[in-house]
């Protein structure tokens, strides 16, 4: 029996696991998050295993498939420990060379290293890569070191010691006090102080009490919760168990999006392992405290990220929110006191208990403590997950870590906070990123998606995109949300078709105010944000759509035209081959001609032309 029944036993177990581990031995880690899997990392890992077996190198090297390393742009990623050599875009064909050079001769394979696009220098070590250098990876750091399906990997790195400390040394009230002192705020979007939420739930009357981990990560462009659940599920689980102890809950749920099969698989496995070791179940670590966790799959409804909708969904009902005159900490799941936190919030808890509230509160800004994970995506050079201290400026995040805009284009805006957030323009790039600063700019933190947009992104289209998303996802229970979003979307669609009228902007603003006041849940009250922020910072784009019937970014199909600039056309015929309607014709090696009456403006010719001869305006 593996069951651990005290802190002392846990320490002994950790020490014996550490002894077994040879720190000098080479270890190849292959990133196997969803992103790298899409690149084919599993084939790379299999090739390594085969080579190691065939060449009988088991004594010299181990292979570990880990969670997401964050630098998704460069996957599949292989890091060689203990040196920390960082190989990127590794293919199956590269495996023999890594084995023969790095494993056998301790030499670096130059061509697989990351090249700094600014200096042209090759960088050998992971920690020296600019993408990682400025980060503070308290939560994500372990992702690249442990095999998420192996609880022993987590235990070696002091896993579950925070739980043991809380159970053995601290009263529930002291745990709550520590979390309050740390200044931790909810990472799911709202930014409510976590310790206070726990306190309310502890004091609420009723039994049993529940804790929930919200892993229904619905914001498009945000995937940090998935990455944590996939890459380090035990840390999330440990946070939940500590929280349950502090609150006095006996049952917990992890509500995971069904679109995240790997996260589902890894957290389910982690729960089984935690039960075997006695971190879940009856009398945890001999403390007398009992608690267990169940995984619930989401049904693919964005609104279920809202706490009351999520609880309805767990109860087997449609995920419709209810008015929160009475908070869920008092009347939540099955009518009982329920504490819900987001994945990243839970993952912070073991760190706070282990290292202390003061250590945590030292990181970040006055009102926002600790680090935050962001997913840096869109028109950015280094797409990936980053973790930085609260208060870093957008400029540092986008240009120093993210490496600036793709294809040398000009930065236009960054969208934060998902469909509830807004766009932030270039003039605010020096804004320090924390809960309060983003809200004051009209956006919000949300779960941490940062979608970078360049000069080719149309802001009216972005607003239309989010409202279309929200129209699809509105549960339809309250009228202002169901009807208001639909009407606003109608107006935006008209504007993007070139049928906008001057008074439309005013109507949009009026409707926004109604939604903000009258909707039942945050999906509706924050729905106007994408419209209001684009109107605030990019009003002239709306005006050119409405007055001049032009889309300056060349996105809105009805407002653009395509033609061929004769002087640039070489007559290569690439466009002729891709045109689905035969609108382009011409003799070989002579300038071609595009028949605008036939053109359906699909943009295929624009994409394939290597000579910039297709003009879109």
């Amino acid at each position: 029996m593996k069951r651990v029944s005290s802190r002392e036993e846990l320490l002994k177990l950790r020490n014996s696991l550490r002894k077994r581990e040879d720190r000098e031995k080479l270890c190849l880690t292959v990133c196997s998050g969803t992103g790298c899997r899409a690149y084919g990392c599993e084939k790379v890992a299999r090739a390594f295993l085969e080579h190691i077996r065939r060449e009988k190198l088991q004594k010299q090297v181990t292979l570990r498939t880990t969670g997401c390393h964050g630098f998704c742009e460069r996957g599949p990623i292989v890091v060689v420990h203990p040196q920390g050599i960082f190989y990127q875009k590794v293919k199956v064909e590269d495996v023999p060379e890594i084995i023969s050079e790095t494993v056998r001769k301790n030499k670096i394979v130059e061509r697989l290293l990351y090249q700094d696009p600014n200096t042209g220098k090759k960088i050998a070590l992971e920690k020296e890569v600019p993408f990682y250098k400025r980060q503070h990876r308290l939560l994500l750091g372990k992702n690249g070191l442990i095999d998420p399906t192996c609880i022993e990997d987590y235990l070696v790195m002091d896993g579950y010691l925070a739980l043991a400390k809380a159970l053995e040394e601290m009263t529930p009230e002291e745990v709550i006090e520590e979390v309050k002192k740390s200044g931790l705020r909810g990472r799911g979007g709202g930014g409510f102080p976590t310790g206070r939420k726990w306190e309310y739930c502890r004091k609420a009357e009723g039994a049993p009490k529940y804790v929930i981990c919200n892993a229904d990560e619905g914001d498009p462009g945000a995937y940090m919760d998935r990455s944590l659940l996939e890459g380090n599920p035990h840390q999330v689980l440990e946070g939940m168990i500590i929280g349950a102890y502090a609150i006095g809950a006996e049952k917990g749920y992890v509500y995971v999006r069904y679109e995240y099969p790997l996260a589902l698989q890894n957290i389910t496995r982690a729960i089984e392992q935690a039960r075997e070791y006695g971190f879940l179940g009856e009398n945890i670590l001999g403390s007398g405290f009992s608690f267990d966790v169940e995984v619930v799959r989401g049904g693919g409804a964005f609104v279920c990220g809202e706490s009351t909708a999520l609880m309805a969904s767990i109860e087997g009902k449609p995920g419709e929110p209810r008015a929160k005159y009475v908070h869920t900490v008092e009347v939540g799941l099955y009518g009982k006191p329920t504490n819900l936190n987001n994945v990243e919030t839970w993952a912070n808890v073991p760190l706070i208990i282990n290292k202390g509230a003061e250590w945590f509160a030292d990181i970040g800004t006055e009102g926002s403590k600790g680090t935050k994970i962001f997913s840096l995506v869109g028109k950015i050079n280094c797409t990936g997950l980053i973790e930085v201290p609260m208060g870093m400026t957008l400029r540092e995040i986008i240009f120093d870590i993210g490496g600036g805009i793709r294809k040398g284009k000009k930065f236009k805006a960054v969208q934060t906070g998902g469909p509830s957030g807004g766009v932030i323009p270039e003039s605010l790039l020096d804004l320090p990123v924390d809960f309060d600063e983003l809200t004051s700019a009209g956006s919000m933190m949300g779960s941490g998606g940062m979608i970078v947009m360049d000069e080719d992104t149309c802001m009216v289209d972005v607003a239309r995109y989010f409202l279309n998303f929200l129209k699809e996802e509105s549960c339809g229970k309250c009228v202002p949300c169901r009807e208001g979003i639909r009407v606003m979307l109608d107006i935006l669609e008209r504007i993007t078709r070139g049928e906008g009228e001057e008074k439309d902007i005013e109507v949009l603003e009026e409707l926004s105010a109604v939604l903000q006041d009258a909707c039942l849940c945050a999906l509706g009250t924050t729905a106007p944000n994408p419209v209001l922020t684009t109107l605030k910072y990019f009003r002239e784009e709306y005006i050119s759509h409405i007055r001049d019937k032009k889309c300056p970014a060349g996105v809105c199909r009805e407002l653009v035209r395509y033609f061929i600039e004769e002087s640039k056309c070489t007559g290569c015929g690439a466009c002729v081959r891709v045109c689905p309607v035969g609108a382009i014709s011409g003799e070989k090696k002579k300038p071609h001609y595009l028949q605008e009456e036939v053109c359906i403006k699909c943009g295929a010719c624009y994409e394939v032309c290597k000579f910039s001869a297709i003009i879109r305006e």
């Binding site: 992103g35 998704c72 995937y223 049904g299």
Partner: protein
């Protein structure tokens, strides 16, 4: 069919709150929710069919019609959108001559959009039968589609 559904119900238990999980397993098994199956679940759990229908139409994970041999999902997350995911959807609608959510008359392809799969580095992203095709454009899409049309 009933035997398989019965097995799913007994695995989860007859509790009413398990209905969503039961429907999810039925969807996974049959790739849609057959009417006969829903009627059976309704009788076994004592939940009116209207309420089950309400669940089946509320959650995106469920479909009431059988899906095609190949399911094409285009990611319409924000990152994919700004990188031109919408043009891929248009392209597929044109090529397959169906709308999003529909299946071709020969039962070969179903076209769907998904909100965000969190593989934003690969955007615009298309997933066919669980296989990822990244950094798509209309001409690459053509080539991929041809492989399945054979």
């Amino acid at each position: 069919m009933i035997r398989e559904i019965e097995a799913i119900i007994s695995r989860h238990g007859e509790k009413k709150s398990n209905v969503v999980a039961i429907l999810q397993d039925i969807q996974e098994k049959f790739r849609y929710l057959p009417r006969e199956g829903l009627e059976y679940v309704s009788r076994r759990l004592g939940i009116p069919l209207s309420q089950i229908y309400s669940l089946a139409t509320f959650y995106r994970a469920f479909t009431l019609k059988p899906r095609g041999e190949h399911v094409i999902q285009v990611c319409t997350g924000t990152a994919c959108h700004v990188r031109g995911g919408g043009r891929i959807v248009d392209k597929l609608k044109r090529e397959l001559n169906i709308e999003v959510g529909e299946t071709t008359p020969d039962g070969k392809f179903t076209l769907e959009t998904v909100n965000c799969l969190g593989a934003c580095a690969l955007g615009p992203l298309v997933v066919i039968d669980g296989e990822y095709y990244g950094q798509m454009n209309t001409s690459k899409m053509d080539k991929v589609l041809k492989r399945f049309q054979k």
